[in-house]
């Protein structure tokens, strides 16, 4: 089994599979409406300072660092 990582620790340009989001239900539902939920593949386009930006379904979504730390992902090779 591969190890679960936090979205906040993923390098730019890496593609990951979302495994678990343990945030408040409002944030979780908003993310789900944007297509970010368990089982979705996303690409990290920016992650240095400030919010993490991910590509999902051809769109770019910024996620605050406080939330990004609650998103557990699996790294794809």
């Amino acid at each position: 089994m591969k190890q679960l990582l936090l979205l906040i620790d993923i390098d730019e340009n890496k593609i990951v599979l979302v495994k678990e989001i343990s945030a408040g239900y409002k944030a979780q539902r908003f993310l789900a409406d944007l297509g970010i939920h368990e089982g979705e593949r996303i690409r990290v386009t920016k992650n240095d300072v400030g919010p993490v930006i991910v590509e999902v379904k051809g769109t770019r979504v910024a996620i605050g660092r406080g939330l990004a730390i609650k998103v557990k992902v699996l790294l794809e090779e």
Binding site: N13, I15, A23, G24, Y25, K26, A27, Q28, R29, F30, L31, A32, D33, L34, G35, H37, E38, G39, E40, R41, R43, T45, K46, D48, V49, G50, P51, I53, E55, V56, K57, G58, T59, R60, V61, A62, I63, G64, G66, L67
Partner: protein, 671 residues
């Protein structure tokens, strides 16, 4: 509505933000549109119409939204509208380059109504990146008409109009939205709830299946309305037990299912979609959002924005000023020639013409200000600046979008207050509404530029101006911290924000964006300024023929100056313009003009009458002391509370008196 067109069709545009909804709406309706508010809500309502074959098609542009859950007022308004107003057709606008995301809303809407059409916009961009969309295949699977359009192509407009006409008059198109089947487990639950609903003969304007789905999702608004009339404890107990045993958030589960259904549909009808590749916008963002460069770039862009606004508008303003004073001179001479009574001449020249002038003089700066904002907005930079500023704003307990309402406020506080609508957190929103008037609008920029230019060397004037602006920003941010201590903090939603693609700004959009915002100023503020100017004329002319200090305004100013002179250094002649500036800040300059132009040029007279500490005290005081009446009206309509409106009026006055007293006393002591 017009009565000569008897047949009227109601058509609604619905879609995610940035799909080109407004662009299509503008193309279809042209200038036949107006912006209003939803009754009781601070949600913008844009209505327009076009006429085809003598029939009236009224179009409604709903606010951009990602879903139809009840998380925001936008979503509630949208839902209500679709079910209660029974539009003839709901048009879901979708973006060809982001099909899966933007069709999600279509799937949600299909559960709510049958009368749906899908317009896939931005097909010109799709073509460029080699996307091919088979709309027939989409139609087959979704069961509703799908049109491929582009707001860049005028032909699309003709096709849309023809489509709308045919959709209503012929049965050329089918409206049988496909029923989406969720997983077996969820379907069983939906059926069980549906039975319960039917068993209790619950009757609403919503379809049963949709109600069942919403109950499963835990939609508060639906559940509340139902619970008010029916006993549903059994149903909820069942759902809760199930959700707990499976450790599921059913709301998330349902969204997930919709997306997975969509994924299949899109995969079978679209070819050439390339995921996970660095786009042009990503490349630009590497620079614009860079950890070292983002702030310097932001500062340069905003500095340029303010400088251009200032320098491009000043020749126009001077021109208008010159024109008006000549016109006023001619009118005055003519009135004197025909022996009109002195009071009438004064009313026309110093009251009416001066009032119109006060409005006209601020139009250029407002128009230039908002067209530059529109360029930033349309290019995609404005959203990024909210993103960049999020880090700074969060130090003050605010979100990045609060920054945008501040920027807007520098043009006109009414627009700034209205821009707080994008702030999702209620406490932050109220704090930003109440403090927006601290930020000097274009009218106060006029006063600041005028007075600093008179009293200081250019470099010192520039420095002072920057200091004043900085101070006003400081007040807004510090107040937010202060309010944070008093208002209960409802746990803030973390930042989740879609970043639009960078686009070349389009003239048509800039025109419409500027027109709506500058229009707010011209209509709302315009009437206030004009009435205030007449009022000022009246106060400073009665009794007629008396010297300024013996008019009503003079007595008022002298009364107040007993307090303000020792405290703030503001004598009676300085108090009057400030008093007149309460309803409309534009009045400050015109009042200064009337009071200080006897016995020489206004510049000379002002220089001779004010000490430097007094001038600084005046500048500082007028910067923040009170929202104009138009802004007050905006505070009231945005907060729906008289208490908060009163707070919005008194809070700035108290804060300003405290700070100005401190500054004046120190300056007076050292100078």
């Amino acid at each position: 509505m017009q009565n000569d067109h008897i047949i009227e069709h109601k058509i609604v545009f619905l879609g995610n933000p940035n799909v080109g909804k407004s662009s299509l709406f503008n193309l279809l309706t042209g200038s036949h549109q107006h912006v209003g508010n939803w009754p009781g809500k601070t949600i913008e309502k844009k209505e327009g119409h076009f006429i085809l074959s003598d029939e009236f098609f009224s179009l409604i542009d709903l606010p951009g939204t990602y879903s139809l859950s009840a998380r925001s007022d936008e979503e509630i308004v949208t839902r209500k509208f679709i079910t209660e107003e029974e539009p003839d057709l709901v048009c879901i606008i979708s973006d060809a380059t982001r099909l899966e995301r933007t069709l999600f809303l279509a799937l949600q809407t299909m559960e709510l109504t049958k009368k749906i059409a899908i317009f896939i916009n931005m097909t010109d961009l799709a073509e460029k990146i080699g996307l091919y969309i088979d709309n027939k295949k989409l139609e087959e699977q979704l069961g509703v008409p799908v049109l491929l359009v582009s707001a860049t192509d005028d032909n699309s407009v003709i096709r849309i109009k023809k489509f709308l006409y045919d959709a209503i008059h012929t049965d050329k198109y089918e409206f049988n939205p496909a029923m989406l089947l969720y997983s077996t487990k969820i379907e069983l639950m939906i059926q069980s709830i549906s039975r319960q609903i039917e068993y209790r003969s619950i009757c609403t304007e919503y379809p049963t299946r949709w109600l069942a789905v919403k109950i499963l999702e835990g939609d508060e608004s639906v559940i509340e309305t139902l619970e008010a009339e029916y006993d549903l404890t059994n149903v909820f107990d069942k759902i809760n037990k199930l959700a707990k045993s499976e450790k599921l958030d059913l709301n998330v589960e349902l969204s997930k299912s919709k997306y997975s259904i969509l994924h299949k549909i899109v995969a079978s009808s679209v070819t050439g979609f390339k995921d996970f590749q660095e786009s042009r916008s990503d490349k630009v963002d590497k620079i614009i959002l860079n950890k070292f460069w983002s702030y310097p770039i932001l500062i340069v862009i905003y500095a340029a924005f303010f400088l251009i606004t200032f320098y491009a508008s000043s020749p126009i303003i001077n021109g208008i000023d010159l024109g008006i004073s000549q016109f006023s001179f001619i009118v005055e001479n003519w009135l004197i020639n025909i022996n009109s009574p002195a009071i009438l001449t004064s009313l026309i020249v110093n009251g009416i013409i001066a009032g119109i002038a006060a409005v006209l003089l601020f139009i250029p700066i407002i128009v230039i200000f908002y067209s530059l904002i529109a360029i930033m907005e349309d290019s995609g930079y404005l959203a990024r600046s909210a993103f960049i500023m999020d880090r700074v704003m969060s130090k003050f307990g605010l979100q990045g979008t609060a920054f945008l309402s501040m920027v807007m406020g520098f043009g006109c506080n009414v627009a700034g207050i209205m821009a707080t609508r994008t702030i999702k957190n209620e406490k932050d929103r109220i704090s930003m509404i109440i403090t927006n008037s601290f930020l000097p609008c274009a009218a106060r920029l006029g006063v600041i530029a005028f007075l600093t230019g008179i009293f200081f060397e250019p470099w010192l004037a520039a420095l002072l101006m920057l200091t004043l602006y900085g101070f006003s920003i400081f007040l807004v941010l510090a107040s937010s911290l202060l309010f944070g201590l008093f208002f209960k903090k409802n746990d803030p939603l973390p930042l989740i924000m879609e970043l639009p693609e960078y686009r070349r700004p389009r003239l048509r959009n800039i025109y419409y964006l500027t027109w709506t915002r500058a229009g707010i100023f011209i209509k709302k503020a315009g009437t206030f300024i004009f009435i205030a100017s007449l009022f000022i004329w009246l106060m400073s002319s009665i009794p007629f023929g008396a010297p300024p200090e013996r008019t009503i305004a003079g007595y008022l100013g002298r009364g107040i100056s007993y307090v303000t002179e020792p405290l703030l250094g503001l004598d009676w002649k300085m108090v009057i313009p400030l008093l007149f500036g309460i309803p409309a800040k534009e009045a400050i300059i015109s009042a200064l003009g009337i009071l200080y132009s006897t016995g020489g040029s206004i510049i000379e007279v002002l220089k001779a009458s004010w000490s430097i500490p007094q001038a600084i005290s005046f500048l500082l005081f007028q910067l923040t002391y009170a929202p104009c009446f138009a802004a007050l009206a905006a505070i009231r309509s945005e907060t729906k509370s008289w208490k908060l409106t009163a707070l919005g009026f008194y809070y700035p006055i108290i804060v300003t008196i405290i700070f100005t007293t401190i500054v004046f006393q120190i300056l007076n002591f050292v100078m």
